[in-house]
Amino acid sequence: MTSLFSSTFIPSNPLHKTLTLTKPPKPHQKPPPIGPIHSVLQYNRKPQLSGDTPRVVVITSGKGGVGKTTTTANVGLSLARLGFSVVAIDADVGLRNLDLLLGLENRVNYTVVEVLNGDCRLDQALVRDKRWSNFELLCISKPRSKLPLGFGGKALVWLVDALKDRPEGSPDFILIDCPAGIDAGFITAITPANEAVLVTTPDITALRDADRVTGLLECDGIRDIKMIVNRVRTDLIRGEDMMSVLDVQEMLGLALLGVIPEDSEVIRSTNRGFPLVLNKPPTLAGLAFEQAAWRLVEQDSMKAVMVEEEPKKKGFFSFFGG
């Protein structure tokens, strides 16, 4: 199979500087004094929507399996629970799985391909979640159908415009779940987006791909790019077996939207078709997704990160489970 991006993506400057393992040179500056940490977490008010609606956000990563679809599902439902209307678009033409994570796979009858062919209207292809009625899902295509490539980006632009003008009002957020890679699917997905959320894990392979994707997004005109670091393990970070979140940020140079710890509940929630932000009591990862959604609404970024877990003080009754 010939390379799909043979000549297009090779940088013209042969002396290009891509992401290497060494950190970029920093300007000579005194380290800023560590003052009090403000705006760490806010739970006592509804976030104020910032920016023009609809906010079209593409969730991408480059490397597959880092948690894009999980992030889309959980952040989307968090936004819906905060009272905002959300439309999530699964832009993966060949491998569709956002519907599985949301538990809506049996309700997807029509896709964007049917809308383009005139088999149904756009509102008939939108699947409304019964748990949160202000959350809707739209799939690009069924797994066996093919989408004309010259069409994909334009089709998404038309879709966003049609959603803006629909009778029930424009949605507040349109989240686009981008497929892995930097192929035609990626190009299609980023076409209508105004901002991007880059999902990565603290390992070097994901970081290199994330850096490349960030470069392509900036070339395409998307400047508002924030990062979510997924599958973080504080125990490995403490043992210096894993890069810390601050190291990741220093390598990529992107503002932090969220830090999601490794959680086995993610697998259970996928099997249930029930995103883990809806669990009661919430898990650590669920809380982290909520916080990320909160910051997305206000176009804010993290000012502090959770570094390590302090050892729990054991009392006399710890034997009894105290």
């Binding site: 010939t2 940088p11 970029p24 940490i37 977490l41 099997n271």
Partner: protein, 350 residues
């Protein structure tokens, strides 16, 4: 000879001393051992003393008298010694470890000890029971795969609880100085983010130098020629066997855009199909009506005009011709059938 009155010393006098030194009675036990050893040693000596006294008294003529006296004295001595030994033994028995005295004298401590052991056992049992119960409540999320039809199995269905209130979260607690946060029962240290705007700009510049990319606008498959006025950097080649991408445009753009923007009514393709079906149905129905219309030759004649008027006209024409030609008796040959028919019709009508 000492009297063999065995009197037990009152316990209240002897015990306090023992309790104050060691409540569990280790010293009195060692003291007891010492006394036992002394007693044992002394047990050896009475025989010696008896033998010595016996041997010293075994001399000469006074032997029989001496024997009786010595025997009596020996007997009395032996009894005294025995009595002393018994009294000492009784004393050692009486001076037993204070635990025994404690147990004897304070029954409440027994209950306390028993209560502590029972409480511990109860708490452990409750913990084990709760752990087992929580395990049974969540049999695993594979059951949900079965519920959704992704797996075939005869397992049960597990339920999840909705989390309704993101604004009042008791799982999150921030310390007063904002240096630690407690989430889901775990305490984390917080460290400030150190990325500055200048560093972000440096990274952006680095990426813009490294990744110079243009969005592809033309998609071609293998074998297609590149148009002359197109930037080669904007061309994307798609292989023919790509699983989900194609360059073939079966749909016209304008039509597709109209379909996307349609808000009401039946979608175009459905309507077109419906209209086509409708026309086909009408055509079929009209064909069926035509086929149902059959012509009966018997009744068809009733609708035909009678030939009389025609014969009269013919006769008139003939009379005119005759009159014109001056001929009487000849009939034109061009109308043999009609004349025949007319004759038969005349016959029929008459």
């Amino acid at each position: 000879m000492a009297s063999s009155s065995l009197q037990l010393h009152p316990i209240s006098i002897s015990i306090p001393h023992r309790v104050s030194t060691n409540a569990f009675g280790l010293k009195p036990q060692s003291g007891f051992n010492k006394r036992y050893q002394i007693w044992k040693r002394k047990n050896k000596y009475p025989d010696f003393f008896i033998e010595a006294s016996a041997s010293s008294s075994t001399s000469g003529e006074d032997k029989p008298i001496m024997d009786e006296v010595t025997l009596a004295s020996l007997k009395s001595n032996g009894i005294a010694v025995l009595q002393r030994q018994i009294s000492k033994l009784q004393q050692t028995i009486v001076s037993s470890p204070p635990v025994v005295f404690l147990v004897k004298n304070s029954p409440g401590s027994t209950y306390m000890l028993g209560f502590c052991i029972a409480t511990t056992a109860l708490i452990i049992a409750v913990r084990v029971y709760l752990a087992r119960k929580s395990r049974h409540k969540r049999p695993g999320s594979v059951a949900d795969l079965v519920r959704r039809g992704q797996l075939n199995s005869g397992r049960g269905i597990s339920k999840t609880v909705m989390y309704d209130d993101p604004f009042n979260n008791p799982q999150v607690k921030i310390s007063k100085n904002n240096s630690t946060v407690e989430m889901c029962g775990k305490v984390y240290k917080l460290a400030p983010v150190t990325l500055t705007q200048e560093e972000q700009n440096i990274h952006q510049k680095r990426r813009s130098r490294a990744y110079q990319w243009k969005r592809p606008t033309i998609f071609l498959k293998e074998g297609d020629p590149i148009p002359a006025d197109v930037d080669p950097d904007t061309v994307r080649w798609i292989p023919a066997n790509h699983p989900f991408a194609t360059t073939i445009n079966d749909i016209t753009e304008d039509l597709a855009q109209k379909n996307v923007y349609q808000k009401h009514g039946v979608p175009f393709r459905i309507q077109a199909e419906h209209e086509a079906l409708q026309k086909k149905l009408e055509a079929l129905q009209s064909d069926q009506k035509l086929n149902n219309m059959v012509i009966d030759p018997g009744t068809a004649r009733n609708f035909e005009r009678p030939f009389k008027s025609n014969n009269k006209l013919d006769d008139q024409q003939q009379v005119e011709q005759k009159s014109a030609n001056g001929q009487t008796g000849s009939r034109p040959e061009s109308q043999p059938n009609s004349n025949g028919k007319s004759a038969s019709e005349e016959k029929q009508t008459l």
